[in-house]
């Protein structure tokens, strides 16, 4: 218990004096996960909107598959990306293994199905309300998808948040493709795993606290934006 208290004290000390290593790790974590969320939204939102509107043979199977992919194990994604980016792999020539870019790729693959599947559900509900008006406007499918994504933007923030939560908290994929290299690919989760295994509980705890504060702050910000949108009936 005493060790726990002293670790807590050290953790607060690291945070309050803005420890350089700590900030570097936090910054890289945010950079990787936010980039992955943006890329996942770029791919997943149009895919979700398309599935919300389009009716085609096999659509149900695609939706079931997409929902199943939400539960992709991070280590499996990490392994697949590793096999592709390793020197002997098809994309080995790019030299991306053990770089933040590889970590962004892995996390994007991990959370794109989450963004696509959840946005499909949100936008399908919205489309139920709008579909007849869209037909009356004689909108093209692309125009209808744009309207759905724009008008569903506040609900989709929560979808993006779910993706960010998954990305920033996962350790398996970034560990495999990033390698947890100090000052290069070390992020909060891999650092916590490493420092805990080395018995350096203070840094691990400090990172854990920062991780939780970031998650809390981002959730609060999104909730604030949503509430403001609901007041205007835009959500």
């Amino acid at each position: 218990m005493q060790e726990f208290e002293s670790a807590f004290g050290l953790a607060f000390d690291l945070i309050l004096r803005g420890d350089r290593d700590l900030l570097e790790i936090v910054w890289l974590s945010l950079r990787v996960s936010i980039s992955a969320v943006l890329l996942a939204c770029l791919i997943g939102l149009p895919l979700g909107a398309y599935l919300a509107i389009a009716r085609f043979r096999g659509r149900g199977t695609v939706i079931v598959a997409l929902n199943a992919l939400m539960g992709l194990p991070p280590v499996v994604v990490g392994l697949i990306v590793y096999l592709h980016l390793s020197r002997a792999g098809p994309l080995g020539f790019l030299g991306l293994l053990y770089t933040p870019t590889a970590m962004i790729i892995a996390q994007t693959i991990l959370i794109t199905p989450i963004v696509a599947a959840l946005s499909r559900q949100v936008l399908e509900d919205l489309n139920t309300e709008y579909a007849e008006q869209f037909r009356s406007f004689a909108l093209s499918r692309a125009q209808a998808m744009q309207v759905l994504i724009w008008d569903g933007r506040y609900s989709l923030l929560t979808v993006a948040l779910a993706g960010f939560g998954r990305a920033v908290a996962e350790v398996g994929a970034v560990m495999i493709v990033g390698g947890n290299i100090d000052h290069l690919t070390r992020v909060m989760t891999t650092a916590i795993a490493l420092e805990t295994s080395r018995g350096e509980l203070a840094l691990a705890l400090a990172l854990g606290l920062v991780l939780m504060v970031i998650a809390l702050a981002i959730n609060a910000a999104v909730q604030g934006v949503r509430l403001s949108a609901e007041r205007k009936a835009y959500a």
């Binding site: 309300e129 709008y130 007849e132 009356s136 004689a138 008008d151 205007k232 009936a233 835009y234």
Partner: protein, 249 residues
């Protein structure tokens, strides 16, 4: 029936080339026949009222005329051409419950103008002024009252200067003042040359607005005649009963 409706149509108005020709129109869904063998021509401008009791098929017919429901049988021709997205785009439909985008009043009108390649703040403001909503231009659309929402839907429809304006019971659930405002706007649009199709089961409203009446009952067209002829001497027993305030089943 077909002969009768055509005869009635001919007595209704001076005959020019038919702007709308409906032939053998039918609509079925899940084994239920909601509309069958509906045929009539419209050769006039002004306001055509689609009347009938609940479940008569008025709203289905309106959607079939607009091209947002595919007919099970028959055809609809506008100005001699079969329905197409281009024709739908030249029309505007206002629903009983207005479907407004989750945006400001201005953005709702801007959106539809943009889809027609005619974005113009001046045109938007003129459309909003026409329905008395210019002072609410930045207001969230879905925070408007029911009557204001319906007027916004009308402004959005009229901003594109449609050839044909279709309205599906636009004044249901509105108070008399709001109803009068909507009726004035619709009458003004019709006077400006827009062909109007107005669905209602309110006999008083039909008397105020209609130049000709299409009367439906149980998915069938029973009469199409000039308003004066319809209200003074309805041909079908169902229309007589309806106008007498009897409940049709």
């Amino acid at each position: 029936m077909r002969d009768m409706t055509q005869n009635c149509a001919q007595t209704a108005v001076p005959s020019t080339a038919a702007s709308l020709a409906v032939n053998g129109l039918g609509y079925n869904i899940d084994g239920h026949r909601l509309l069958q063998d509906v045929s009539f021509d419209i050769r006039t401008q002004g306001i055509t009222v689609l009347m009938g009791p609940n479940g008569a098929g008025k709203s289905v017919l309106l959607r079939l005329l607009h091209g947002i429901l595919p007919p099970s049988d028959g055809q609809v021709h506008w100005y001699g051409k079969p329905l197409s997205p281009e024709i739908t785009r030249q029309q505007a439909l206002v629903f009983q419950k207005p479907v407004l985008l989750r945006r400001s009043v201005a953005a709702n009108v801007d959106f539809v103008l943009r889809t027609r390649g005619r974005q113009d703040p001046g045109r938007r403001d003129a459309a909003l002024a026409r329905v008395g909503l210019l002072h609410l231009v930045q207001h969230p659309a879905r925070r408007l009252s029911g009557g204001e929402q319906q007027r916004l839907a009308l402004a959005r429809a009229l901003a594109t200067e449609p050839d044909v304006l279709l309205l599906d019971e636009p004044t249901a659930n509105l108070d008399p003042a709001a109803v009068q405002l909507i009726e004035n706007i619709v009458t003004e649009a019709a006077s400006g040359g827009t062909k109007v199709f107005f669905v209602t089961h309110d006999i008083g409203q039909a008397r105020r607005l209609a130049e000709d009446v299409v009367f439906l009952h149980r998915g069938r067209l029973l009469e199409h005649s000039a308003a004066s002829a319809f209200f003074d001497a309805p041909q079908s027993s169902a229309a007589r009963a309806y106008l007498a305030g009897e409940i049709l089943t």
